[in-house]
Symmetry: C2
Subunit: 194 residues, 2 copies
């Protein structure tokens, strides 16, 4: 079997991959995400570019192995939102997203020996309901630190589900790792059995 | 807040509900599922009927509380599949489903004081890939007892994901609990805050 390295620090991505029964090592890539997001490029280009940069960065130090880079970008009303760094920022983001639809773009890239060998991009559309401020306060308390780790300040697999009116798109893409197309290429590349 | 009772023994449903931050008690309903499935009714009628029967059965002993009944039915080529009871049966089912599309029908019903107050039904469509017998053997070993607890012998949130080529439909419906419409009625009924 070919070895796989996940070039992401996301615990959510690592969990999806290990629950699916895929063996891998983790080596987060350091890239300047904010610089890329501030470049003025459109959201799909940003997500795809960051996924590729992460895969290539780690690939340089891992000859012969497959390296998976991933990125997720949230767009609402043409604006790209980054992860909140404080609770105050999370409350502002959630109030901005409340009562509106937004798009989550998830990009994956596989690199080997410094070259990209596969790319994938997927979008999901989520509509937040018009929740009360009382609900928002209890949600922020219930989630605690966890909400600072997620784009959009929610985990759909947790209490974040209570924020939503409707969700359209692949669940694994929403978690940041479009799983079925990834498993297909991992079979082709000999990482997992057919 | 109004109290909620889940009339289902499914650990997967209980997990989805508790991870979403909903408080509830569990009291599985005893109904003769096989008799209903053998009745000749179509799959949607079977799923909806079983969800209602479970909710009503438990509601009789829980005056004033909301009781949630749920059922999931798998249909492939017009045939309703029940949960496998042995590994041998699981292998036969998975070989039958291999390389084909099937439908998962998930029905919910809420009862209060012996009357149904809400119903919901949803369908998802899943295509299994043409996996090898070697893969099947390793899958059966990896999943062990867990696969006997799920309709179709797979957990999409586990190694079961490796069985699939494509999945269309709501992830929570596939787990047996269409979550977003349920949360909406639970807000209306005062079980969770708005």
């Amino acid at each position: 079997m070919t070895a796989l390295v996940l070039a992401s620090a996301s615990t959510s991505r690592a969990r999806v991959l290990s629950e699916a029964g895929v063996a891998f090592a983790v080596q987060p890539a350091r890239v300047d995400e904010d610089a890329v997001k501030a470049s003025g490029a459109d959201a799909r280009t940003v997500a795809a570019g960051l996924a590729e940069m992460k895969a290539l960065r780690v690939s340089a130090s891992r000859p012969g192995t497959l390296v998976l880079g991933a990125d997720q970008v949230l767009v609402c009303e043409g604006k790209i939102l980054s992860k909140a760094e404080t609770f105050a920022e999370a409350a502002v983001q959630l109030k901005f997203l409340r009562g509106k639809s937004h798009t989550l773009i998830s990009a994956l890239a596989l690199a080997r020996d410094g070259a990209i060998v596969w790319r994938h991009i997927d979008e999901a559309r989520l509509a937040m309901r018009d929740f009360s401020n009382v609900f928002l306060d209890s949600y922020l308390k219930a989630e605690g630190e966890a909400l600072l780790g997620s784009v959009g300040c929610y985990r759909l697999e947790g209490p974040g589900a209570q924020l939503f009116e409707s969700v359209e798109g692949d669940y694994f893409s929403i978690l940041g790792l479009p799983l079925l197309p990834l498993l297909e290429i991992l079979r082709e590349q000999g990482v997992i059995p057919r």
